[in-house]
Symmetry: C2
Subunit: 430 residues, 2 copies
């Protein structure tokens, strides 16, 4: 009676890639520099500290080193001694830098390489004291590196044209929701917006505030399909211009107001508060303040939903991503997120973890990104192309291996009894 | 397209009681003791600090005091000066003691009175400095009272016969799950067990460990309907004897083993860990240790579910309940619960809050309890009957007013990708 329905679930394995990175043709250097015993010893110690991922490492003179008993998933080329030394000193930071610069190259699938590295790393308990010590040093170092760099590619410095190349047609730059894994990215982003709106139980005529609205698609979706009025806040001028133009074109500018400002500038009283993909940029020291803003702006029977990348436990962000891709970004653990809610006596109704949906979303993005790589080279330069490829492939690995989480948290005031009796309503709309 | 399904949800209001406490015929005392101005002043200050709940208070000479502008929901009789003084000193503790002893009596519905008190109390921000100070003193005091008492009615000192009077036929003493509010208590307890089993995606042949199994019904349900083998731990000899006898009678003793021991004594490797209504007794200082136990006993692809009373933020338990009903009990907030999971890198998949289901469950229990009150008097004494009436009525108020939460937390190891693709499977079994 009860067993059969659990069997019928289709679970996409992490290895089922919907997209793979482009295969590289590795250019071996012709410097003729020799590989010394000390070079190979250093490489061995570094790989040991990394948990001996099943990779074949090729050094600049063509010598190959295989660490693990398992079959190597790819060949990783380290093309000069300087690169090897940087990698030994701080692999978290310099792997990304060296890969972007083409001084590390990968023959095989980059996503596989990143997953392999992530999977080898965390199993701390069974390592020797020596490798534990080295690995702990790396972990410590993550927090202290903050050197100046000139070639920082911030998210917000990049033109809308860049994102248009590989996001869905509505420019939704957050985790999608795939009711079935076979959905297209376009369908899955719409399904995500409906998933959020259904959880919030939006009703026609209600007023909604959105903190961090990106290119504005969720605000328009709520107004069009749920009959609500929306005030959507954002600090990116380029995104706001795009969103306002679209609202006007689609005749929704009487119901959706895009406001330049961050969450601390929210004013008014609303039936629902929603924030999708903003919390990653808020920083844990401001969570209590974010909760205060919500406490001020939410009506007595108001509901709220926060959708954010998270972690299983507090941990620093990868140094390279923090430095080159998401300056100031921090994905919190649930205990850290509770600082938004507990000081203001909010009641958590529902927490859902969608990490495999983010791995799937990122696979779609990477596939589109690779298809548009020639355009990206024209817009920027080869190092930029490689940096974003690594970021997307590495993020797939983060979510597929269980290092990264995606939490949707639904909440309301403690004394609001107009809450759904159970969660069937989220799943019985068809 | 999307609005209608949200309207169709039936939400039972907190005031829709499925059970009410028995109406009392108040015995006024004949001591002839006078009420002084100081008595009424003290009563006024206490009611002010309590947020002026809409109650009519009757003192021992028959004088009535009404505090709120709203229509009083009931008359509360304080039948002697000693009682009033105790109430002023520590209402949290002494309201229960005095009510149990019959020195406070209630004319009207006890559940209404408790809800009214809970609703008046928490709105801290709008009170005067003086009442805030008094109220803060009360809050502080909650932690420091620990006087010896002789007449403690512990949960585990009471016979199975007592619980049989008012629990469901399977003796499930935890929050039920009502897919529809009209379900009977029996049906809702079975629905809860299925809800837990479905979330855990139990498969035939799997091995399950249960920490804190009560009278054993969930273990038997899992073995019978999901084809699993269960080791169920408990420290109550009386519950274990009952559970073992039932397993033998129902021919399930080859698949369900009841073991005398607490969660720290769990040995073995299991596909699923489940604990329903035990965490309240564990105490927050032991959460990390509980997580370690789970980390040791869970197989690589294992899943876990913890079902527990909780709070929106860390707060002490009501002094009277802690002292008379649940010694050592502590309902944690989600941030506190995360100490079970985060040190061991568990991944939270799903958190569901079922607080209104607990209010409903408790209403069923109170209704059955009142129907059996004459038997309880025969088994114990009138003070015991009143104490348990107050506990059940007060608990309804706690969950109905949003002071108490009921969390079900589903989790697995961080790197387990054999997780449900979404949560539809919990709701599409019919």
């Amino acid at each position: 009676m009860k067993q059969d329905e659990t069997e019928s679930l289709s679970i996409p394995a992490a290895s089922e890639h919907y997209a793979t990175s482009k295969a590289e043709e590795v250019d071996m250097p012709t410097t003729g520099s020799k590989v010394y015993v000390i070079d190979k010893w250093l490489l061995g110690r570094m790989l040991e500290a990394a948990g001996n991922p099943p990779l074949r490492v090729v050094l600049w003179d063509g010598q190959e080193v295989t660490t693990s008993q398992s079959t190597p998933v790819a060949r990783v080329f380290i093309l000069d001694r300087g690169g090897l030394l940087k990698l030994v000193i701080n692999p978290d930071l310099y792997f990304g830098e060296l890969y972007s610069a083409g001084r590390i190259q990968v023959e095989g699938d980059l996503v596989d390489v990143m997953e392999t590295i992530d999977q080898a790393l965390p199993d701390f308990r069974h390592r020797s004291l020596w490798t534990k010590l080295i690995a702990r040093l790396y972990l410590l170092r993550r927090n202290t590196i903050s050197r100046a760099r000139d070639n920082i590619y911030h998210h917000y410095d990049i033109s809308n044209d860049f994102y248009r190349l590989w996001l869905d047609s509505q420019m939704v730059y957050t985790c999608a929701y795939f009711p079935r894994p076979t959905l297209s990215l376009e369908e899955a982003q719409i399904a995500k917006m409906d998933h959020v709106c259904r959880k919030l139980r939006l009703r026609p005529g209600e007023e909604v505030v959105e903190a961090g609205c990106g290119w504005g698609s969720l605000a328009l979706h709520m107004a069009r399909h749920y009959g609500v009025k929306v005030k959507a806040y954002n600090i990116s001028k380029e995104q706001l211009a795009y969103a306002r133009e679209r609202a006007g074109r689609e005749g929704l500018d009487d119901r959706v107001e895009y406001i330049e400002g961050d969450y601390r500038e929210i004013k008014g009283n609303f039936d629902a508060f929603v924030s999708v993909g903003m919390l990653e940029h808020v920083g844990p020291h401001h969570y209590r303040q974010l909760g205060e803003v919500i406490d001020h702006c939410l009506k007595e029977k108001g509901r709220g939903l926060i959708h954010s990348i998270g972690r299983n436990r507090p941990a620093p962000m990868n140094t390279w991503i923090e430095k080159y891709i998401f300056p100031g970004g921090y994905p919190p653990s649930l205990s850290e997120m509770m600082n938004i809610f507990e000081p203001w006596n909010f009641s958590i109704l529902d927490v859902e973890n969608l990490r495999l949906h983010y791995a799937m979303t990122l696979r779609h993005w990477l596939e589109r990104y690779e298809a548009a790589a020639d355009h990206v080279v024209d817009m920027f330069d080869p190092a930029f192309v490689r940096a974003w490829r690594l970021y997307l492939a590495g993020s797939i690995a983060t979510f597929a291996t269980g290092e990264g989480q995606l939490f949707q948290i639904l909440f309301t005031r403690f004394n609001n009894n107009e809450i759904p009796w159970n969660r069937e309503y989220i799943y019985t709309y068809r």
